[in-house]
């Protein structure tokens, strides 16, 4: 199961912003991409898109380390931050935490909605295939 990651779930956010702040999300994306990075590396990377204070990035990375999402290691006189979890492991942990929390309180409606949702996903996939067949047949294929 691993240690629990504290986060606030925002159902209307998109992607990682459902569970992390905007800057936290950007920092995590950079660290996942680079594998390991100093505050300076991340600051330089993000600064290309928009001006950001070095201390803001540093505070964010320290907070992510406190949350257990980043691990830091001292090398000479600076810290190197590495992701504590891969992107997939993080998504898995979030899904587990959110679903466990919901199932504890609302097991029946959650399960029934999940079954409905899976059915709807399958139905949508079937419609996509049907549309693909229709287009190919309209294009002259048999």
């Amino acid at each position: 199961m691993g240690t629990e990651i504290p986060f606030e779930f925002r159902p209307h956010g998109t992607g990682l912003a459902k569970v992390l702040g905007e800057l936290e999300t950007e920092v995590m994306e950079v660290v996942w991409q680079l594998g390991g990075a100093t505050v300076r590396d991340v600051h330089r990377y993000l600064n290309q898109k928009r001006p950001l204070a070095y201390t803001t990035v540093m505070t964010t990375m320290t907070r992510l380390a406190q949350k257990g999402l980043l691990e830091r290691e001292q090398e000479s006189n600076y810290y190197v931050y590495r992701p504590a979890l891969t992107r997939e492991e993080f998504a898995d942990r979030v899904a587990r935490t959110v679903l466990d929390g919901l199932l504890d309180e609302f097991a029946r409606p959650v399960l029934s909605h999940l079954v409905e949702r899976i059915g709807a996903e399958d139905e949508a996939r079937l419609r996509e295939l049907e549309e693909l067949i229709r287009r190919r047949r309209a294009g002259g294929q048999k």
Partner: protein, 322 residues
Amino acid sequence: MTYLHPFVIYASFGTLVGTLLAAAVVKCLPKLPPAIKRGIWWVSLALPFAGYVLSWTWRWQTGCWGWMLSGQGYAGAFFTWLCRVGTALGYALAPFFAVALVAGVTKAVAAAGLARRFTRRFPPERADSRVARQVQELAPRMGLAPPAVILAPHPPGQAFAIGFRRPILVLSRQLVRELDDSELTAVLAHELSHVEVGDHWKKWLGVMFRDILFFTGLSFLVFRNLQAETEAMADARAVQVTGTPLALAAALIKGWRLGRLGTRWQMALDNFAPLVGLGEVQYRVQRLLEGVPAVSHTGMVWGRWLPAAVAAVTAVVLFLFS
């Protein structure tokens, strides 16, 4: 129960060994032709029955390895213990197996009886009807005498072959109404290709084996794989005959949509037309869209020996350990 308990051991142990071997072979050789994969899955479904019959015919000395080793150190003690546990389990499960055996055979016999009633209830299509004309045109191309065709209101969305010596094609009326000519041809070619290789009675037998072995927990998984390969073979053959994979894919989706409307007859005729899940339909449609490989009833030469090899290894393991 004396006669049944060895079978429980054969069924449980044989199905487990056969399934694990079959899964390993299929996983390691994913490009095997469907015909060979089907043979391998057949082995794991049928071998417990064959092994049991052979054991009574030849009077195999069961548990000979354990017997030889008994009293010889830890291995002997282990086999003695294994033998006792197996025997106790066999006796404990024998009554449940007896029920499963009776239920499985009764269901299969009832399905055969219902099939006969079903085919008498609906008259065969006249030779000049849209469906019969297509069958008369397709069957000779596949080297078959045109079988009779009936259109029935149940089960909705289904097309299957029913019967044993003289199979009859059954098509749902709603399905025929929904399909355009090329889709109907593709469906009929698919069903005729089942008739071509005797799937109408093999399916009936496979469902009966599956039902009898349900207590092993693996028979439904094995049957699902067996059915997937059988359908893959029939799809490939239909595409070879008609050259219209997209028409078959479209027909599959239409059939599945209609099939959701009712299941009462579906249950009754399960031995001839086992229920198909949406996942299986999607898989088949995707295969058809990606381009079905050329049909092969025999496949690579060495591959033909694989089902026999799986059967031999399972039989040896059964002989040594059961």
